[in-house]
């Protein structure tokens, strides 16, 4: 069959054309991606035999029971969840003015500068950035130095003495870990938010002012609700990335385990694949819960 005949064949039969386009990636997606996900899910319903350290391949909820009843495991989930929520809120607060400026005010070169500036950190190695932050946050690091030069060392020390989130230095406290998480995931919040705000026609803001709304009212009644789908999209990134990350908590911050570290440790040195699998299911459940709450509050209504 000549190329022309093939073209005609597919032009006349759009479904065949669609099949040609979709079947290869769907096969790949289905087997490699979903397949491994279901394999993981299946593993979480096995358990490990405490004496032989062998995996018992019988369906059981014992491993999940271990996650939700043992105090240490509950702490890990709560610790990770609290961090993810805090990081998401902080990212949203910092991103909103930046995204608003990028989408609604910056023009030409300034706009390009901001977009590149936001994405630039993502082009360097993740590990380099994490280790760089450990140095920045260290007791003798530049941040502590700036505080001491400004005569504000007392303030920093007071913050580090806060029970629960403090520590001997920023680099070994949850405050430091929080700062690194916010830094790392901020672009993932700014970009979808800016994209949502770019789509808001300028005439909507003019209409709001025209009807008597002061700029603050326009922001609250028009800009913010229309940015919500972007905030929701961004927060799914920041929330899920924080829930799953294991490098930042192991390089920066207090010694307590996070979900990602637990998965890493259990499937590696401990060899407890079922527990690692059960822990990986926790973020999936939390994100589903988060999405359904967001939907209930109408986050996706303007889509």
């Amino acid at each position: 069959m000549s190329l022309r005949a093939a073209s005609t064949f597919f032009y006349r039969r759009p479904n065949w054309y669609l099949a040609l386009l979709l079947v290869p990636p769907l096969l790949w997606f289905g087997t490699v991606y979903l397949g491994s996900l279901f394999a993981l899910l299946a593993q979480s319903f096995y358990r490990i035999d405490d004496f032989t350290a062998q995996i018992v391949r019988e369906p059981t909820l014992a491993t999940y029971r271990q996650v939700v009843t043992q105090r240490a495991n509950i702490d890990i989930v709560l610790r990770t969840l609290t961090m993810a929520v805090a990081v998401t809120i902080a990212c949203a607060i910092i991103a909103l003015p930046i995204a608003t400026y990028m989408a609604r005010y910056a023009r030409g070169r300034m706009k390009a500068f901001f977009y590149v500036g936001v994405m630039l950190p993502m082009w360097t190695s993740y590990l380099v950035k994490v280790y760089a932050w450990r140095l920045l946050l260290a007791k003798e690091g530049i941040i502590a130095w700036v505080f001491s030069k400004l005569g504000l060392l007392g303030l920093l020390e007071a913050a580090l003495e806060t029970p629960g989130v403090g520590g001997p230095s920023l680099s070994s406290s949850y405050i430091g870990m929080f700062i690194v998480f916010v830094y790392m995931w901020l672009p993932f919040m700014i970009l979808p938010m800016a994209a949502a705000l770019e789509r808001v026609p300028g005439s909507l803001l003019q209409a709001s002012a025209d009807l008597g709304a002061r700029p603050a009212q326009t922001f609250r009644n028009v800009v913010l609700p229309l940015a919500v789908p972007g905030i929701a999209a961004g927060s799914v990134f920041t929330f899920s990335l924080t829930l799953g990350d294991y490098i930042i908590p192991s390089v920066v911050g207090a010694p307590g385990y996070f979900i990602g570290m637990m998965v890493y440790v259990q499937q590696g040195t401990a060899g407890n694949i079922p527990l690692a699998a059960a822990f990986s299911v926790v973020p999936i459940i939390l994100i589903f819960a988060y999405l359904s709450i967001a939907k209930r509050f109408g986050a996706f209504d303007a889509l």
């Binding site: 026609p201 909507l204 003019q206 209409a207 002012a209 025209d210 009807l211 008597g212 009644n221 303007a302």
Partner: protein
């Protein structure tokens, strides 16, 4: 009586473009005022100056006698119907209409009552619970109108409000808008590039060209006595003779305009009528429009003119086809003399 809107020597300059170039005019309270012109002629820039989305570089904009050049839109008693309607997509119709009273601090009960009244006024009383995306173009148009009228503005600005509607709906809305304006007694400022719309609705029309007003007059005067070549061409697409062409046709170098419906087409050798002017040429195209057809004729002196020929008159021209030699004639007094200054534009 204080003018509802007054422009005093207003200029608005973007870079080296004079969007509004030293414009002065006054609009009376209760007037239906149209700003007519091609895109980029300055009409929308003037509207933005009235709404307060923009401020003049020079001159003053007065609303009800006071200078508002630096007053923001939310402190002006003026409301706008936007070209794209600018309905808030995340609010339903009732919330959209109630937005004005809401940001001005009205209680929920009060503003919803007002909004229902406005929706009844535009015959959309039953659609309050719908989202703008669920409405047709014509319905969105009415919501935008209700939303703009709810604050009881002294002046309503309409920026090409019917541009997105189909012809039949547009004609219905024209009648409705005119009726609404008469009932409410509000000053309407209506921006459009459609001369038919401006002529059929407005009390007075300002024709804009390159940031300036070419002519400000009542529709009938604008049509029958265009002051410049631009107005003659833009309003009702008249044939315009510039100085050179006028010289070769009439012997005098005064530019003039002549409407297509005043020109009749004759065979080359037809006898000249008394008090008529004629110009020879050849037929370029004939477009049939039903009651009449439009004949495009290239004059020997250069320009292509058009003549509107009724079906009755066309019967005697049955043997003339494209390329045929003809003579265009018109009564001497049907020609409108134009001011020579701008005849070139």
């Amino acid at each position: 009586m204080t003018a509802a809107i007054e422009f005093r020597e207003v200029s608005r300059i973007f870079g080296d473009v004079r969007a509004v170039d030293d414009v002065s005019f006054a609009i009376e309270p209760g007037e239906f005022f149209a700003m007519l012109g091609p895109s980029g002629s300055g009409k929308t820039s003037c509207l933005r100056l009235v709404a307060g989305f923009d401020s003049p570089d020079r001159g003053q904009v007065l609303l009800d006698g006071s200078d508002v050049s630096s007053v923001p839109p939310y402190d002006r008693n003026v409301n706008t119907v936007f070209q794209d309607y600018a309905l808030f997509p995340h609010m339903n119709v009732l919330q959209n209409v109630a937005y004005g009273p809401r940001v001005r601090g009205a209680s929920l009960q009060e503003r919803e009552k007002l909004a229902r009244e406005m929706l009844d006024l535009v015959q959309l009383g039953a659609q309050g619970g719908r989202r703008p995306a669920q409405l047709s173009g014509g319905q969105r148009q009415r919501v935008a109108l209700a939303r703009a009228l709810i604050n009881r503005p002294k002046v309503l600005l309409l920026d090409e409000p019917l541009g997105a509607l189909d012809l039949k709906l547009r004609e219905e809305m024209q009648i409705e808008l005119k009726g609404l304006q008469r009932r409410l007694g509000i000053t309407f400022v209506y921006v459009t590039h459609d001369q038919g719309e401006a002529l059929s609705m407005a009390d007075r029309v300002a024709v804009f060209n390159q940031g300036k007003i070419e002519q400000l007059a009542a529709p009938r005067e604008l049509y029958s006595r265009p002051a410049t070549a631009f107005v003659a061409r833009f309003v009702g697409s008249a044939n315009v003779a510039g100085a050179t062409l006028a010289q070769s046709i009439t012997g005098a170098a005064t530019p003039f305009a002549i409407r297509a419906e005043n020109i009749s087409v004759h065979g080359e050798n037809a006898p000249a009528a008394a008090n008529a002017v004629s110009a020879p040429g050849s037929v370029v195209a004939v477009q049939y429009h039903g009651a009449a057809s439009r004949w495009q004729v290239k004059l020997d002196a250069g320009d292509v003119w058009s003549a509107l020929v009724t079906e009755e008159a066309a019967r005697s021209l049955i043997d003339l086809a494209v390329g045929a030699r003809v003579k265009l004639t018109w009564p001497r007094d049907a020609a409108v003399l134009l001011s020579p200054a701008s005849s070139g534009s």
